[in-house]
Every structure is written in C-alpha cells, then in structure tokens.
C-alpha cells in the first residue's frame, strides 16, 4: 500500500542544510496499525508530511497504492489526499468559525458528491465518534477530546484508505486520550490502515507494529513494546 524507498528530505536555508530524512525506507500493508516513535527531531513528522503528500521529498521513491507520487501534479496529489488519506493532528485543526457539521464537510466539498450524499456521510461520521447531539456546536463549545473526535470524524467522512495521525492525543488528558485511541483501534479493526506518530511509548503500544525513527532513518534499535496485535494474539 505505502512503500518508501531511500527517501530523503533536506531543508535548506542560505547557510544551513538540514537532513530530516536520509535513506528512509518503509513499507506499510493494508489494514496495519503502525506507530512511529522516536526522539524529538528524529524525522517522525517529516515522514508523516511526506506520507501525506504535504511535502515533497528530496530523493528516493514513494509509491502509494502502486503509484509513484513524485509524478503527480498538484491536482492529482490533492485528489489522492482527499480520497485516500485522512489526517488527524495533535492540535485538531478545526476551523473555528465552522460548526461540527461544516468542519466534517470540508474534505467532502472537494469531491463531486451530491448534497444528500455529503449529508449522509457527515452525519454517519459524527454519529460514529459519538457527537451526534453536537452537530451544530462550534469547536470552541467542545472539550479537547470532543474536538479531536470531530477531527477524526472529518478524517473518516471521506472513507479514506489510511489515516495519518500526528500525536493525536498530545493535547488530551489520559481519559480522553484513551477514548480517542479506542476509537482509532475500532477504526483500524474496520479495515482502515493507520499510521500514528507519537513520542509516547505507552501509546505506541496500542499499535500492532512500531517503527522507531532516529536521525531520519528507520532504526532497528527500537525500544521494546508490547504490541496490541501480540496481546490480541
């Protein structure tokens, strides 16, 4: 499904050259729940941005569903983001002036859905995250956990093939974080591939596989985790 080979990412200024990723290779199969851990500045988020087509890579190849991403133009990349990828951010990134319904509607607006189809998908997604009674609340009227659920609903409404979550519980207390992770686990069980970046090993333990990133590369020297799949198995 997702296949990166020798991907590199270099940020350049007039005086400094920073290698965020070097020779980064990773394959993620359909239906996996992969956590990506690593120390600050190791390149986790850069990996996620490249995986989500939010940034260009400097070198190497990246194939998503067998398509070479580097050969896509802006419109095609936008379409891939819209149809195949769902994003969940640490800071929720809801649009403050839009209510829950309209926030979930945002990605659907860029697809050729009819109004009734959009409405059905939005309502189903909001119900799924347990916020059916708050459909017309503004983000400011919701708790942090509820806002993250809205963000998850927004990511799910387009029925993406995989979710990219960047520290999805970073701004939540333990109880809320657990409920969000439970929700992600359920979504994964339903067949959606999830890649979750986190720096908390306890959270990474909820995934089925962990990738440890150090100095912009996948490291074999990962901390020992008890993966959900192992626990389940």
């Amino acid at each position: 499904m997702l296949n990166m080979k020798n991907v590199s990412k270099v940020y350049r200024t007039d005086t400094v050259e920073t290698h965020a990723l070097r020779e980064f290779s990773l394959t993620v199969e359909e239906g996996e729940f992969v956590s990506v851990t690593g120390p600050s500045g190791s390149g986790k988020t850069t990996f996620l941005n490249i995986a989500g087509l939010l940034e260009d890579l400097s070198g190497g190849t990246y194939e998503l569903d067998g398509r070479d991403i580097s050969k896509l133009n802006d419109k095609e990349r936008s379409r891939v983001r819209n149809e195949k990828i769902g994003f969940i951010f640490q800071s929720f990134n809801l649009i403050p002036e839009l209510d829950v319904f309209d926030n979930v509607d945002v990605p659907l607006r860029y697809r050729d859905f009819r109004a009734d189809e959009r409405k059905r998908r939005i309502e189903e997604a909001i119900e799924l995250v347990g916020l059916g009674s708050r459909m017309h609340h503004l983000p400011a009227q919701l708790s942090g956990g509820q806002q993250q659920r809205v963000a998850i609903a927004r990511a799910l409404a387009g029925e993406p093939r995989f979710l990219l979550a960047d520290e999805p519980t970073g701004n939540l207390d333990t109880t809320m974080a657990d409920s969000v992770l439970d929700l992600l686990a359920e979504i994964n069980k339903a067949g959606t591939t999830i890649i979750m970046v986190t720096h908390e090993l306890a959270l990474a333990d909820r995934a089925r596989r962990n990738i440890f990133v150090r100095d912009g590369q996948v490291s074999d020297n990962a901390p020992e985790l008890h993966f959900a799949s192992m626990a389940a198995g």
């Binding site: 983001r81 951010f89 640490q90 002036e97």
Partner: protein, 439 residues
C-alpha cells in the same frame, strides 16, 4: 460551490471584521474619489442625442479673414453669417434644417400685479423641435408656414409656463413678450440636454432657454442677440440691415441628413455654395466646409476641459494607492489564515480551488467596497455641488445615473480582484506542512 464560497467568504469577513472593514474602506475611498471625477466627466462628455448622432450635423463654412484663420490650425468659424444661414436654410437641401441664435426677452405675466422679468430665449425655426426630439407637455412647435410669415408664436419651457400660467395647459393663450403679444403653441416637458449640444458657443452646461420663437420674426423684429457675435471686418454701412449683410458670424445651423450619401450630397451642396459665393467676392479662404455630428461637434468644441482629465488621472492614482493598501491588508489577512489554507490543502483542496475561494472572497469585499464607494461618490458629488453652489449649471454635472452606479460596483470588484491576485497566489503556494503542526 458558488454558495459554499459565498458562505466561506462571509464567514471570513465576519471572523476578521476590522481587517475586512479596512479593506472595504480603502476600496470605497478610492472608488469614491475616482467615481466622483468620472461621474462629472461622464456627464460633461455625454451625448444627449446619441440616438440621432448619425443624422444630425452642425454646419460650418469658412467665410473668415483671408489673412488670419478663425482659429489655428486653419479652423473655420463656429457660427454662420446671417447671409449664409438664410441662404442655406432657404435652399432647404436637407431632410430638416434649423438656424438659431440666443436672445434675451422681457416677459410680462398675465397678472398685472406681477412684475415683468427678463429671460433667455432662442430664435429658431420649426424643425428645431423634431430634429432634437424636444419633448412637449402640451401642444407642439410651429410649422414652416409660421417661419415664412413671421408668425407671433412661442413655445415655453415647463418652468416658464409654471411661472406665468401656473402650470396649466396654456396652448392658445397669449403671452406678452417685450410688449408684444405671442400665442403659445406649445409647452415643453422637462428637457435638459447635458451638454447643451445645439449651442456650445455659450456655457454648454447651462439650462436650455425658457422660450422659443420664430427666427424670421426675431430677425425682422431686431431682437437682441444673447450669444456671441464675431466679425473679421467692419460693417459696410450703418444700422441693422448693414449688420445682417455683414461678415459677422452669430447664427448656428444644424441639418438632419438621412444616410451617408445624403451627408455627401449636402457637403457637395455646401462646396458648390461657397464656390458660387467666391465668384461674388466672398469666402476669400480656401474651401474648408465641415459637417460635424453632435459627438464630433462636442469634441471639436472641447466640451470636456483638460483639467478634468488631469483630475481623473490623479483620482486613478489615488485609487491605485488605495489598492496597494488593500494588497497589504490582504497579505496580512492571508498570513493570518495560513493555517486554515494549509488545512484545506491537506484535506484535498487543489491550488485552483483555493484560488477560487479566495478570489470569491475578494469579490465580496469588492462588492461591499463598491456599494460604500457609491455612497462616497455621492458625498464627493455633494462636495463639488457645494463648492460651486453659485453656478446653476453645477447641479447637472453632479448627477449619478445607473450606468455610473453599475460602473462603480464593477470597478470596485475589478479593483478588489486585481488587488487580490498576488496575495491569493501567495496563499495558494504556501507549504501546508509548515502551518499544520503546532506542538
């Protein structure tokens, strides 16, 4: 997506009220300044008889001084001598023709207690009214027979009829003008062609005259001329007859010609007339006859002063400055909304879709700026009116019509869209990842 963009634009404006107001205000002030001058110029350069522009022609023949043209470079006089006006009129070679000059008369109201008053008038011919589509409230003009027989008939303006007859249908009633009785044949409806194209020798923005009576009668009665008279050589003899026979120019002539061939024929007729006069010792200058339609005639007479163009240029520069301010404000707004834009990019919006969204929002700002700009223009025009309050004609120059109101909105929207191009381009090209991760 139209309704969606409209909703997003409205929400964005409400979310940034101060910034949005500044943008609307900047556009409105620029539009107001620009449209104020453009409105004045539009009225000054309008053609109130545009629908007959290809039929009406002002007649010029060069009867002037052989040693010195009437005006450089070699321009013929703007008016005709009485001799030429009468000869050309009597030849009756056009579909319609009219000669006229401005007069000044004293009107005695019917009420003996009312005081007589002086008013402007126009000595003209029967065709004046149908040629210039003059609207009548009551009655009509006079016929050619009245011209031929110097009949004492008069046509009144609506205001004069109001003043003298209380606005009643006064057709057939008698009006005393300079002690003589005239029968009212018609009363004009409101009629204020701006500019007063049929007589640009005087102030082209003044009101049309209050009364109209036959040219032949005015000449026979030696009515005082209220317009310009120019002579290039002394009269040969004394008295009014000598003046009529002189080379002094004081009569304006217009003809109505149907089609280009009729115009060519009439020009040929004018040339033949002048050649004939040359044999009689007149018209010492080379052949230089002209037929100008109303639009050409107004341009020839430079109805729109060069100062207006200078002012318009300054107003446009001011608009540009306002738009530069708007560009700055839009850039500030786009920076403030970088996260929102990045999020939409991440969720699947292409650059083109974001461009459309932001341009649409700029369009809403433009419409708001245009509407406020109309109010600013109104204020600007009132300012001009108050500045020149002592001139009656100013009220005709400071009127906004629907075309100018529409232009204000179109110009504002175009300005806003133009100003939004660069900020929107920058917005669409931001790297989404930079703004989405806020740890």
């Amino acid at each position: 997506m139209f309704r969606y963009y409209l909703k997003l634009g409205t929400l964005s404006i409400r979310a940034n009220p101060a910034l949005s107001f500044l943008m609307v205000a900047a556009i409105a002030i620029g539009i107001g300044a620009c449209m104020t001058i453009m409105t004045v110029k539009h009225v000054m350069s309008g053609n109130p008889i545009e629908h007959k522009n290809d039929q009406l022609y002002h007649v010029q023949v060069d009867s002037w001084n052989p040693d010195d043209p009437y005006e450089d470079p070699d321009l013929p006089p703007e008016q005709l001598t009485y001799l030429d006006a009468k000869a050309l009129f009597d030849a009756s070679r056009a579909f319609r023709q009219t000669t006229s000059y401005k007069i000044s008369r004293v009107v005695q109201p019917e009420d003996d207690d009312a005081r007589p008053f002086q008013t402007d008038g126009r000595a003209t011919t029967a065709d004046f009214f149908p040629m210039f589509d003059v609207p009548f409230l009551y009655g009509s003009g006079w016929d050619n027979a009245a011209d031929a027989t110097e009949e004492r008939v008069v046509v009144l303006s609506r205001d004069l009829n109001e003043k003298v007859f209380g606005g009643e249908n006064s057709v057939g009633r008698i009006l005393t003008i300079n002690g003589e009785s005239f029968r009212v044949s018609g009363v004009l409806d409101d009629w204020t062609p701006v500019p007063k194209f049929f007589d640009l020798n005087n102030n082209p923005y003044e009101e049309p005259e209050s009364l109209y009576l036959p040219f032949s009668l005015a000449v026979a009665g030696r009515f005082d001329r209220g317009g310009n008279t120019s002579c290039w050589k002394p009269l040969e003899g004394d008295g009014f007859e000598a003046f009529l026979a002189s080379e002094c120019i004081w009569v304006q002539m217009w003809v109505e010609l149907q089609g280009e061939s009729a115009k060519a024929d009439y020009m040929q007729f004018l040339d033949a007339y002048v050649e004939e006069q040359k044999l009689l010792g007149r018209f010492p200058r080379p052949l230089n006859n002209r037929l100008y339609n109303p639009a050409e005639w107004m341009e020839y007479q430079e109805v729109v002063d060069d100062d207006v163009d200078v002012l318009l240029g300054l107003a446009v520069l001011f608009l540009v400055v306002c738009l530069l301010n708007t560009i700055g404000l839009l850039l500030a707004k786009s920076m403030r909304r970088a996260k929102d834009t990045s999020l939409r990019r991440a969720l699947g919006a292409s650059k083109l879709e974001l461009f459309k969204q932001h341009i649409f929002e700029a369009g809403i700002i433009g419409v708001a700026g245009g509407l406020l700009g109309i109010a600013m223009t109104w204020l600007g025009l009132r300012g001009i009116e108050n500045l020149y309050v002592e001139y009656d004609f100013i009220q005709h120059l400071v009127r906004m019509d629907w075309s100018m109101i529409s232009l204000a909105v179109v110009l504002a929207v175009a300005s806003a869209l133009g100003a939004a191009l660069y900020p929107t381009w920058r917005t669409c090209n931001i790297t989404p990842a930079t703004h989405l991760r806020l740890q």
